[in-house]
């Protein structure tokens, strides 16, 4: 054991009670100082620990849940292509759910809906670009890989504050213990109370966040395959916009897992908070489940978990500080999630930023220390990678995709058009062109042109 620990015991006995990983830290030894303390065992934190593990540095991950993944929620799909090279081989045996071969989007009008489906052989080609995922399962597995590589992961420990010494973050306070470290990587999720304590950000404002609510609905894998036209481990992903959020910013999602469905709703917090006539979020999810488009898909399934989480939606303009003296911020904690309408991504940004945070620490150590100047490399790493390139490219997206007409006007318009195009009355049928013109008036086309101008920015 090449650990720089001295003899003694950790002050707080609860440290010694838990998991086997404690044994390495507890008993007769006391850590004087860690090289790196990571706050939060989500994808960013575990990704950072995985990258650092085996480098000879003393790395400690602190997680407040009973186990890594216990507090972690996602809608449920992520994209592997951008991060495969950062984690070579890791995903080959990972407990992912299904690879997505069927993409769907549904415009949900009040009385009707219009669906677009995309599937193609390219989505079946290996390596698969996107998988559905259940985070409690995945993160727990990932944390075992991190521990195998030599980093310590301690669960049931909430970090309460940071230690500041001479204007530098010098460690954390957790459960009454002072834990010193050369550098803290905080990956404590979307609210990032630790970034606030470190003075890197203030509490977020409502227009930069959404709330997601979700049910995991257990279902036989054969039934899922039949219902969604899937073969083997193929999966389907569907997004829903329109009346289901009462025409407000947000939407519904449905992802197939191996033996369950993830069904949920996302609502912009500012939009929903400002709407005094809106119904309660839990009731809105029930209404979504009662839609005739959804009922047959979930029939016979039984809900096994109900979860909710805040999601960063502010994009580039809402990104928090990425680093300070002695501290790096990764994942949702830094605001690294991006909604571009058809795809909503956060998990690969978390994995990538965790990896780059770790690489920054390794480089800084080589260059003589984790001072503020050397930690600034982190931002450069992110700028040179897909992470901040994506955020830059999609800088205008949050403003464009929050256009209320996408959520109230267009689903109704398209639904009404379909209704009239498909309707065969008892008498003679109206010609198609006048039917179209009934809806696509000059005023309407003019407004569509303006909306389209917004779309050209993304």
């Amino acid at each position: 054991m090449n650990r720089s620990c001295k003899s003694g015991t950790l002050k707080n006995p609860k440290w010694i009670l838990n998991k086997s990983s404690y044994n390495r830290l507890s008993g007769t030894r006391k850590m004087d100082k860690f090289d790196v303390i990571i706050v939060g065992a989500g994808l960013a934190g575990l990704g950072a620990a995985y990258t650092l593990a085996g480098s000879g540095l003393e790395v400690l991950v602190l997680e407040r849940g009973d186990y890594p993944g216990a507090k972690n929620v996602s809608g449920g799909r992520f994209y592997l292509n951008p991060i495969r090279d950062l984690y070579p081989g890791l995903f080959e045996n990972a407990p992912l759910e299904r690879f997505i071969t069927h993409e769907g989007i549904s415009l949900m009008a009040k009385e009707r809906s219009v669906h677009f489906d995309y599937s193609g052989n390219e989505l079946r080609e290996e390596p698969h670009q996107s998988y559905s995922i259940l985070r409690s399962k995945f993160d727990r597995w990932f944390s075992e890989r991190v521990e195998e590589k030599g980093a310590a992961v301690l669960a049931k420990i909430k970090v309460d504050d940071v230690i500041k010494e001479d204007g530098k973050i010098a460690g954390v306070l957790a459960g009454g213990d002072e834990l010193k470290a050369d550098v803290v990587i905080t990956c404590d999720g979307v609210l990032s109370l630790i970034s606030e304590k470190a003075g890197l950000r203030v509490p977020g404002s409502a227009h930069d966040f959404a709330v997601g609510v979700k049910e995991v609905i257990s279902m036989d894998s054969g039934v899922i395959n039949d219902r969604f036209n899937l073969d083997g481990d193929e999966g389907a992903a569907r997004l829903f916009v329109g009346e289901i959020t009462r025409g407000k910013f947000g939407g519904g999602f449905l992802y197939t897992n191996r033996e369950s469905l993830s069904l949920g709703l996302v609502l912009g917090i500012q939009d929903a908070a400002g709407d005094k006539a809106a119904i309660e979020v839990p009731a809105l999810l029930e209404e979504f489940k009662e839609r005739p488009e959804i009922v047959p898909l979930i029939k016979g399934g039984s809900t096994v978990e109900y979860s909710a989480h805040v999601i960063p939606e502010g994009g580039f303009k809402a990104l928090g500080s990425l680093y300070g003296n002695g501290i790096l911020v990764a994942g949702d904690a830094a605001g690294l999630a991006l909604n571009i309408g058809f795809t909503v991504r956060g998990m690969e940004y978390a994995l990538a930023s965790g990896c780059y945070a770790a690489r920054t620490v390794l480089e800084a150590k080589k260059k003589g220390g984790v001072n503020a100047e050397n930690l600034g490399m982190y931002k450069r790493f992110l700028e040179e990678s897909f992470v901040l390139k994506d955020f830059g490219n999609f800088r205008e997206t949050p403003a464009v995709v929050s256009n209320p007409r996408f959520f109230n006007h267009y689903p109704e318009l398209v639904g009404n058009l379909m209704k009239d195009i498909y309707a065969i009355p008892a008498g003679p049928k109206e010609r198609i062109y006048p039917t179209l013109r009934k809806y696509l008036t000059l005023g309407e086309l003019w407004t569509e042109l303006k909306d389209l101008r917004g779309v050209t920015k993304i």
Partner: protein, 95 residues
């Protein structure tokens, strides 16, 4: 009313470990503050209610899924907001 009962049953599916001290509190004297009102509709666990005097109350944090919505929607001037102690609160099995 029945919706609330359904929600209770739904939350009953989740694993919760008892939280000692409530980790979220309405700051004293802020009960009537309009900034609290969005929490009544937005809380996914419907833990906030508004009484006939226009006061918002948070009777219990049992069933809190620690999503953070109230902190974002209402702000920390009206809410004293923290995560529960390590190893307590909701423990997701699927996530």
């Amino acid at each position: 009313m029945s919706e609330k009962v359904d929600l209770k049953a739904k939350l009953g599916l989740d694993v919760f470990k008892p939280v000692g001290q409530p980790h979220i509190k309405i700051r004293p004297g802020m009960e009537k503050d309009p900034r609290l009102k969005p929490a009544v509709r937005l809380c996914p666990a419907s833990l906030y209610t508004e009484n006939e005097n226009g006061e918002v109350t948070l009777a219990t944090v049992d069933g809190c899924v620690e999503c953070g919505t109230c902190r974002i929607a209402c702000g920390t001037e009206v809410l004293e907001w923290n995560y529960p102690e390590g190893g307590t609160g909701v423990q997701f099995r699927f996530g």
